[in-house]
Each structure stands twice: as structure tokens, then as C-alpha cells.
Symmetry: C2
Subunit: 144 residues, 2 copies
């Protein structure tokens, strides 16, 4: 993975999950994440394409979850934000004069795919609701 977008997107989705019913503005979300409202809106734009978030424009506008928190998994967020393989390929071209070079990528792709699927399978086991509850839990533990 090249960027921190996935973690930031998960953070913002958790904010929405813990504010179900209310509308949350990109400025409020940006405050929590310590970043720019525009960045937040760009991520929300991706999440909306997967029907995970709905927004209202105009004064008193804002963002909220498109579904219940238990219906959204970390995999849904991952798929909205990240595209393609976890394992990055080299930019340059392969040397097709070399037997190994011209045959290796499909072979590695196959094994890397298995690995990536195992990872995504784990992500699908955790819902936004679980994350939300665990955050509330850990805050409570600190209070005692």
C-alpha cells in the first residue's frame, strides 16, 4: 500500500459511525484527523461511489453513513479507497530476452494474490461497529 488514505478513511468512517443520526461536516472530520477538509472530501467522494456515505450540500449540510455501522466492514472501506495489488511492481519494463524475467510475473502474481486475498478476508471480518465499540471501550478503560 502506498499511502495512508485507507487508515484516514477508516478513521473518518468511524467518526460517522459514532455520530449516526447526526450530519458531520468535512471540517469537523478534518479537525479530528488533523488534516485538510478538502482531503476529507476527496476520500468521501470515493466512499460515496461505493455507497458507504451520503452527503448533503449547502448550509447545514454534512456527511453520514449510508448504512448501519454493522453492515460496513474494513474491506468495504479498503475497496473504496485502494485499487489493485498490495505488492508493487517495478516501473520499468522487464527484459524479455531473459527466461526468468519474461515468465516470473504471472507466477508471482498468483502467489501474491493468494496472500492478498487472505489479508482482505481478514479485513472483511471486522465491521465499523466493532471498531467503534472498541474505541469507546478503550476510552472507558483509561477513565478508571
Amino acid at each position: 500500500m502506498k499511502s495512508s488514505k485507507f487508515i484516514v478513511a477508516t478513521h473518518l468512517m468511524t467518526i460517522l459511525a459514532l455520530n449516526q443520526g447526526k450530519k458531520v461536516t468535512s471540517a469537523e472530520i478534518a479537525w479530528s484527523i488533523n488534516t485538510n477538509p478538502v482531503l476529507v472530501r476527496k476520500l468521501i467522494s470515493l466512499l460515496k461511489k461505493r455507497n458507504l456515505v451520503v452527503s448533503e450540500v449547502g448550509a447545514d449540510g454534512g456527511n453520514k453513513l449510508a448504512k448501519k455501522a454493522f453492515e460496513i466492514t474494513l474491506l468495504d472501506i479498503y475497496n473504496a479507497i485502494e485499487s489493485g495489488a498490495v505488492f508493487q511492481k517495478p516501473y520499468g519494463k522487464i527484459n524479455i530476452e531473459c527466461v526468468i524475467a519474461r515468465n516470473i510475473m504471472p507466477v508471482l502474481d498468483h502467489h501474491f494474490n493468494k496472500a492478498q486475498l487472505a489479508m482482505l478476508g481478514e479485513l472483511s471480518k471486522t465491521s465499523l461497529q466493532t471498531v467503534s465499540l472498541e474505541i469507546i471501550q478503550s476510552e472507558k478503560l483509561k477513565m478508571r
Copy 2:
């Protein structure tokens, strides 16, 4: 993952696996990967720290596997090259005034860790020998 180093390292290790007995120079490896010998030597430097490669300096020098190909897995290579988490965290600081921000990272770390372990577990199932054989196989299939 931020870079293509892991795939390049796997490529170079496969070259060594298919040349067991012989010594292969960084220039020969770089030719196959279409890159710079210095880049190759930097990766080999990391692989040596994990006792996956041995090198000989000087004229007629070169590199070879430190073990048999069936004793080396993709996970060994991964661990030699990559350090830390697949899921990148934001550079900036979190906003500790926000309940969610100050509690979310340990919660996410836990779930991301499970996902990463699942991925690494899959990588450990594939040896360099398997990759080497599959490459020879796919070349043969093209010949027919």
C-alpha cells in the same frame, strides 16, 4: 507496501535459485531486472543480513544462495526487505483532544495486524524452489 523492492528481490533470488552452484554477478542480475547493479547490491546487502545470500568479493566474485531453494520462502525474502506494517499511518500527529483520534490507532493496529499475519502466512507457504519450477514450466508451455 511502498516500493517494488520486494518483487525485485524475489526476482533476483529466483535468478540465484536457478543458478545454484554458479556465482552470479550483480551486473548479470541487473540485466535481467533491467535496472542498476548498485540497486541489486543494495538489496543483496539486506538479504545477506538474513543469511539468504552469500557473496564473494573480487575478480571472479559474485552471489549465490546461502541455502537450498526449498529452504527459502517468500516470507523470508519479505522479512529481509520490508520492515513494519503494510498499512501506512498518516505522517502528522493525531488530535488528542478528540476521543476517537486518541483511541483509534491501537484498535486499528490490532485488526490490521491480523490481516497482515494472514498475508505473511500465505507467503510462507511458497518456496523459491516452487517459484523456480513454475517459471520453467511456463516457459516450456510456451514452447509447444
